[in-house]
């Protein structure tokens, strides 16, 4: 679904991406990890066309994003949903209006239908009806993430980009968000690309993980990455936080039998 080839991005003398390749298959939950400043968000912005890469190609659904005409580009943009790190809800609109915003822009629908669709999308992400009438400033962090997800889902995307979806959430809300993500992924048959630092989220949800190191990406399944000898990956996946997340994930898969797991 997504194919990034030989991507180069640099800011002045600082090279962020140095020939990065990435490929995401349909139906995956693809996690992107990397240390601070390794260009995870820059990668996302390049894929979304918010930043023109210095060189390299980005293909979505087999089409080169750069070479698309403006009209095709607009329909491409409508085919994916994005949530930003801090929600990026429009603060002067209510939550329901935020969800309706893309629908209102792209389709001429009656108010009644718009209300119904806002209700549905808020329901999908597990927000109660009264949340729709609130302004973003009145929501908690977890609710903002959910509302942002509802807005991203409004145009029925097949592809979802999530930037740090669980950052700043307490473990309970983060776990609930993981479950929601898995649920929507299976029910709506979404493909998800997710930038995250949350190892729990990574272990609970992702099917494959791409690690950005030295401007390139190493992609593998989680068990594969755990065996990878690269020092940074070793440190990342075998640090104390990783071990706890790993044990938990292993415990869940083993029907809660072996909590001690490996590690």
């Amino acid at each position: 679904m997504i194919r990034v080839r030989d991507l180069h991005n640099r800011f002045g003398a600082q090279v962020v991406h140095d020939g990065l390749d990435m490929e995401v298959q349909q139906g995956e939950i693809f996690g992107v990890v990397g240390g601070s400043g390794t260009g995870k968000s820059v990668l996302l912005r390049s894929i979304l066309g918010l930043r023109r890469p210095d060189s390299g190609t980005v293909e979505l659904y087999g089409q080169d994003v750069e070479s698309l005409a403006a009209a095709d580009r607009s329909s491409l943009v409508q085919s994916y949903g994005v949530t930003f790190q801090n929600g990026a809800l429009i603060s002067s609109l209510t939550v329901a209006q935020n969800v309706q915003l893309p629908l209102r822009e792209h389709y001429s629908l009656s108010e009644k239908t718009l209300d119904e669709l806002a209700e549905m999308n808020l329901g999908l992400v597990g927000l109660t009806p009264d949340a729709g009438a609130k302004f973003p400033s009145q929501l908690s962090g977890g609710m903002i993430k959910r509302a942002a997800l509802a807005r991203a889902l409004a145009l029925e995307p097949k592809l979802l980009f999530l930037d740090e979806p669980t950052a700043g959430l307490d473990p309970i809300s983060a776990t609930a968000f993981d479950e929601l993500l898995l649920y929507l992924h299976s029910q709506l048959r979404l493909t998800v690309v997710m930038i995250t630092h949350d190892l729990d989220t990574l272990f609970q949800t992702s099917t494959r993980v791409g690690v950005i190191i030295d401007g390139r990406m190493i992609t593998d399944t989680l068990p594969g990455l755990l065996q990878n000898p690269t020092p940074w990956i070793q440190e990342y996946f075998h640090g104390p936080r990783a071990r706890a997340a790993e044990m938990e994930a292993a415990g869940k898969e083993g029907h809660g039998a072996g909590k001690e797991g490996h590690g």
Binding site: S91, Y107, L117, M120, P129, Q138, L188
Partner: protein, 373 residues
Amino acid sequence: MTAPLALEPQGDGWRLKLRGDWSLAGMPGIEAQLESLPATLHGNLVCDWTDAQAPGISPAWALLRRLAEDAPALAVRHAGNPPHFLELLQKLHVERQAAYGALPGEPTLERLVGRLGRWSVLQGLHLRGVIVFLGRIATVVGQALSRSSAWRISSLTRHIYETGITAIPIVALIAFLISVIVAYLGAQQLSRFGADIFVVDLVTIATLREMGVLLTSIIVAGRSGSAFAAEIGVMQLNEETDALRAMGMNPIELLVVPRVLALVIALPLLTVIADAMGLAGGGLLSLINLHIPLPEFTARMRESLSSTTFWAGLVKAPVFAVLIAMVGTYRGMQVRDSARELGRLTTVAVVQSIFMVILADALFAVLFVQIHF
């Protein structure tokens, strides 16, 4: 293009054939067709999804909602390979209905009274907020008299530079131009009586008593009042003021008082510049338009001045400065939560400070007449 819905009788009930584009893109057409479904259906209804192309979750939801709302007596069944998410939607629908049932409906009169009450309480809180704000400033200023560290000298000089020095060009230009306009209009009228020379009196008194200080204050309110509100407002949004409080620093002392003091110092100085430029503008126009040479202009100017004319204008400047700075910083401190609040309160700051300046000016005018100043 086939219509997206077709209702056919079937056995003891109905068959609703869904055809054509049932994706989100086909939504407007589907919406119209759903509206035209007869409301009095009852019995069994089978939704046939066989011919629905690329069914989307949004149209499916609209269909479910319309069937449940308009024809609650129907027993709906789905057939013909219904989309995979239908089960999810049905579950969601049941949950939503339960949630809506629990929402209390508010009677209209009660809502009106409630709104009035909320408004009144809000106004009361607002008034209290202003008083508290004034009190806090007074406290800090009081402390500053005894504690030298409360004088934020570097901050003060920065604000004097930003509100005063950088405003000089625009204040000078506008004072000059307005004075030229007044002199020009005055000359036109007064020359009809042959009283051209009184243009000098007009320009001198108008500039020194009123226009110098008033124009400067209005420009500064637009420049600095808005800047104060926006700067402090963004700090509020970023929780910077909370951070200062948490580190044991007083945002009023750090942010508000230096701005107020800076403006109290800068505005009178700007007024002097505006006065000078206004007189220069009057002199220039008199020279060019009325052929009054400069020595004659200055001589006439001295005659028209009383000892208080200049001070009657200048004494107002610090008062206006306090008003502008207080309104700007207070509105800035009020910003909460959203970008819209920031814009709204910045606008309020400018409008309100200009209004306060003009109101205060009117009060001064009455006062000066009473005490023959």
